[in-house]
Symmetry: C2
Subunit: 432 residues, 2 copies
């Protein structure tokens, strides 16, 4: 076993956390905090262009990349916990519609229109992969923007989150079909069927079984309650196991973490409180002169077990910025330097935005623009699609460069657009 | 860049956290919780003996080993924060004495007495390395036991923590000297002097500069306070940077994290509170009928920024058990199967305990046994010494096996012994 340079990795984490925190100053100019973290990442990751290669090893480190993944798993778990399950169920049908429109439109536009038009003379398989890449949705970016805006429980956010999860399932199927067509010229309905059943099986299973198991688990383990960390540990175990199950079903781990958060109702954890002490203190509080109330409030604070979302917050504050800064670090600004590639990419980016924006039109009586643009960031999902296409030899280095730029622009511009749309909505309907 | 199996690692973390949490039931029988986590680790790590190899990859995974290291860094940072700096300074002289006796006694006994006696016919260099290995102290185990016992602020705990930090510096010097003697037959006073100056320089520098910088940093950054996570982020950055600095000075990262916690006074973070809202709410509380006080208390709870130790607690609950379970997993029970090796190891273990126990005698007017036995666990530090000796060819596989057993026994038995000593003290002086 080789030695891990623990000290150096701790320094990297400290630098990322520090710069990410400083970048949040961007809020003062009304910009979304996540954009600050992404931009810090882009800067740190591209200092090599001015001869500073100090930060290069960070994004290559397996440990840093795992911490980033852990961060986005925690984020989606938090987002799931903060999501309203009833609301999610209410908008489920519309989320399905949004996901379908948001997959079909960019796929058709990419494969049959902008692909042949802007990248003429390439094989149909290349256009197919380009179309497939454009169907992706990176729920991480959008979830974080809605979280920053304190809008997670809005119907718009719930529709986008639901649609993004469905998008992940559809993306899995599209990838299977497109890969089969590229390698075999055709695809087997059976194998695609198996993939679909597994993915849907996970989602339905997680939600149905989760709703039955979560309260039982909470009750059973509360009888052997072993102190303060119990609630957090159980919640993390549940979230991580669901993320694992999602991953073996072919879905992204974050989809599993989100589903876990969704079914985990804080009510299941009521057994872990210490109500006797708290009640007694509250009675005491009523008969106490003002000046000594501070102490009692502090004691209540200590004994009333904290809400699970409060317990997850420090873990999120620690790990989530690592994900967004590393996402930014993976942006290679060199790709923007070839004017021809850049022009083509800009054209495709417009289509990438438009293809998702129209999906908002079927979102029902909500802020349709917020939903449509919320589906736009391709993030790491788009990169995975493009990388697979490159491995299969249907996506050339040039086309790969184009896709990277599309991913960069949809990822970096979406927080700005959503922020602006939300501010406008707030101005128009201040009661919102 | 190869793909990381994020899902699988999340499953591993979930399993470790779950079993570690269940193991805390050991408290019901009056046993220290940390022992439960170590034993769970020993069981999981040795299931290969009954043909279950499922958990083998966990302790080999670089990512898991990093998470464990991160866990013990967080633990020592927490312990540093909870330590009383004034008390630590008050007992500093005695901690130095304890460290010196606790280093010299086992070194002399190991090198000149039990080495030649129990392992006759080996080279002097082997005995030298054996003696050096016995000087180690694993502060992680002891700190955790004192934390579990809620005794971190006792003078005994402060002396042991101080002595363990000094022990780390001395261990560094001993390792340099012994390694030089083994390879060159002699050692250069200059190079040993440089190592000593670097290590001491870090410790003195961290404490002197840290005390000056920490409040300034807190005040400066409070002017650009960007929300709830600020306090935690700054604290983590400070802790991690100190851990990094310790590591480049040749010390263990946990020593740096501990020093960071020690100089970081919660007072420096008072700027990050939201006193206006809290004060207003407290006034309101005084004029409120009993039945609606719940809400106000909850709101105060939300607005009064939490203490930094409260914010670190969930991160600790998440990561610290990984360290102790992995420490347990590294115990290879096969080493205990050779009766001859086991017998020799038992003899050396007695000396290992005795050599540290006598150090308690110079601890002044405190519970001397608690101090002496608190210094006993060799843990990962002892393993590092032995591994270096093996690499240099002075420690044979057989002697390595002996050392492993000594490390296992001092690590697993110390929590039991400390727990028993603390319970006895509590019985004899209930006012303690």
């Amino acid at each position: 076993m080789e030695e891990i340079n623990v000290g150096l990795i701790l320094l990297w984490i400290a630098l990322i956390l520090f710069f990410a925190r400083i970048s949040l100053l961007i809020e003062r100019w009304g910009q979304p905090p996540v954009l600050g973290e992404l931009v810090v990442g882009v800067i740190l990751g591209n200092l090599g262009l001015v001869g500073i290669h100090l930060f290069q090893p960070i994004s290559q480190s397996e440990i840093m990349r795992f911490l980033a993944e852990l961060g986005v798993v925690i984020l989606l778990f938090q987002v799931g916990l903060e999501s309203n399950f009833a609301e999610m169920r209410r908008v489920g049908g519309r989320a399905l519609l949004v996901a379908m429109v948001g997959v079909i439109t960019p796929f058709v536009l990419g494969t049959y229109v902008v692909g042949p038009l802007l990248l003429p003379g390439l094989s149909f398989n290349t256009y197919l992969f380009l179309g497939a890449t454009l169907t992706a949705t990176s729920v991480g970016i959008t979830a974080r923007v809605f979280q920053d805006l304190n809008m997670l429980r809005s119907p718009e956010a719930q529709i986008v989150l639901g649609a993004a999860v469905i998008d992940d399932v559809m993306g899995l199927i599209i990838l299977a079909v497109v890969s089969a067509i590229v390698t075999a010229g055709t695809f087997s309905l059976l194998s695609v069927g198996i993939i679909t059943v597994k993915a849907l099986g996970f989602l339905v299973g997680a939600i149905v079984i989760g709703q039955l198991v979560a309260p039982l688990l909470g009750r059973a383990l509360s009888t052997i309650n072993t102190g303060k960390g119990m609630k957090l540990t159980l919640a993390l175990c549940f979230g991580f196991v669901c993320a694992y199950l999602a991953s073996i079903m072919g879905l992204a781990p974050i989809v599993g973490a989100f589903a876990a958060g969704l079914v985990l109702d804080p009510v299941h954890f009521r057994h872990f409180e210490n109500p006797e002490i708290v009640d007694e203190l509250r009675v005491q509080l009523a008969h106490t002169p003002l000046e000594s109330k501070d102490t009692i409030v502090a004691v209540i604070d200590h004994h009333a077990e904290r809400h699970i979302t409060d317990l997850l917050e420090p873990i999120g504050n620690f790990l989530v910025p690592i994900f967004f800064v590393l996402t930014g670090m993976n942006v290679q600004l060199e790709t923007l330097f070839d004017p021809q590639i850049l022009l083509v990419a800009l054209g495709i980016t417009v289509v990438a935005f438009a293809g998702k924006a129209v999906s908002g039109l079927v979102a029902g009586p909500v802020n349709k623009a917020l939903v449509g643009w919320g589906m736009a960031p391709r993030g790491e999902v788009g990169l995975i699609f493009a990388a697979i296409g490159e491995q299969m030899g249907v996506i050339s280095a040039q086309v790969y460069g184009v896709v990277i730029i599309v991913v960069i622009l949809t990822t970096l511009l979406t927080p700005l657009i959503l922020n602006w749309l939300a501010a406008r909505q707030l101005r128009e309907q201040p009661s919102f």
